[in-house]
């Protein structure tokens, strides 16, 4: 389940800290790891970080690319800090999201909280 939007993700961190998430950046790169913490700017700290399967992003495989330095088959990056402003999506584990709560939160947000 992919959720764009800072407010909703920030409110659901409590179900996600310690869970595996995949962070997709605005430059199309995707990084998977264990969510350590998140702040109000959506800065994300991950542990056990690795790059998502290269095959999913074949067009990004270039000598100077992120993938070249971090072969996805290895846990080459442990602790990682991702700037909130470069996050496009955070992919959540489907079983970790309560859809009813999410709908309620969306309605509250639309009404101005």
């Amino acid at each position: 389940m992919v959720i764009p939007g800072v407010q909703l993700f920030f409110s659901y961190f409590k179900d996600l800290v310690g869970r595996e998430v995949t962070v997709e950046l605005k430059n199309d790169l995707a990084i998977r790891g264990t969510l350590h913490s998140v702040d109000q700017y959506l800065n994300i700290k991950l542990e056990n970080t690795r790059v998502v399967d290269q095959d999913k992003y074949p067009h990004m495989v270039k000598p100077n690319s992120f993938f070249y330095f971090f072969p996805p088959s290895r846990l080459s990056v442990r602790n990682c800090f991702i700037r909130g402003s470069v996050v496009r999506y955070v992919q959540l584990p489907p079983e970790g999201v309560d859809v009813e709560l999410l709908h309620d939160a969306t309605r509250r947000e639309a009404r101005g909280g």
Binding site: V17, S37, F70, S76, V77, F81, R83, S85, R111
Partner: protein, 228 residues
């Protein structure tokens, strides 16, 4: 706005010198760490040099060439990480990804600016300390300084809240009304996709302006009886 990596040719002080810190604008040094080599993109490592971390940017100054140095502001650092996998890079290092600025190639027409142009295209930078045991400390400093440099917004938030657990969030529900639902200033990610249109305010104003609701009392009772 990301400015990317830039060349630093000016220094303060004598001898090897130090970076020119913009103290007038609140910049201050947080850490000075010697014995660091820098690797830009897939260029060979440059060494020896000293790493300077301020609350606004990362500097690397060559110990041997006073005219050679590089700097990048934290606004341009998309991510940073500790890299220990020898397959990724032979030496343990801090890996950073740099957001490059949009460069107008038409503006650059001389050889002297080509290095500047090349640096502005650098998307990856590694900092390799001589002592790998310092990596965690360096990573922590990078995190702290990155947190000090959120994207500029209209509203200033002085409290920086890292949330680590559900309990922490529940406590903050009671204490700080701003923490759970931060007012989100970036208009490019609105819920409801109405840009800056504030739906809640519009509805409220509609109710105020609508004359039909003023004499509601008698009508309400009628409605209640009528709709039972």
């Amino acid at each position: 706005m990301a400015t990317g990596l830039r060349l630093v040719t000016e220094r303060a002080g004598n001898g090897v010198g130090k970076p020119v810190i913009d103290t007038d604008n609140g910049e201050e040094l947080m850490l000075v760490h010697p014995g660091v080599s820098i690797v830009l993109g897939n260029r060979p490592p440059e060494f020896p040099g000293t790493l300077y971390i301020s609350n606004k940017q990362i500097w690397w100054l060559s110990d041997t060439d006073r005219a050679k140095g590089y700097a990048v502001d934290f606004l341009s650092v998309s991510l940073h990480a500790v890299s220990r996998d020898p397959e990724a890079y032979p030496s343990p290092c801090i890996f950073t990804q740099i957001e490059t600025p949009a460069v107008d190639d038409e503006l650059v027409d001389s050889d002297s600016e080509s290095e500047t142009l090349n640096l502005s295209k650098i998307t990856q930078m590694r900092l390799v300390p001589s002592d790998p045991s310092q990596l965690n400390m360096l990573f922590a400093i990078f995190c702290q300084c990155a947190e000090l440099n959120p994207d500029p917004t209209e509203e200033e938030e002085s409290v920086h809240n890292w949330i680590f657990s559900a309990d922490q969030l529940e406590d903050e529900d009671e204490e700080d009304e701003d923490s759970e639902w931060p007012v989100f200033q970036n208009p490019t990610h609105p819920i409801g996709a109405n840009g800056n249109h504030d739906l809640a305010h519009s509805v409220f104003q509609l109710q105020i302006n609508d004359q039909r609701f003023e004499d509601a009392e008698e009508m309400e009772q009628y409605d209640k009886n009528g709709h039972q």
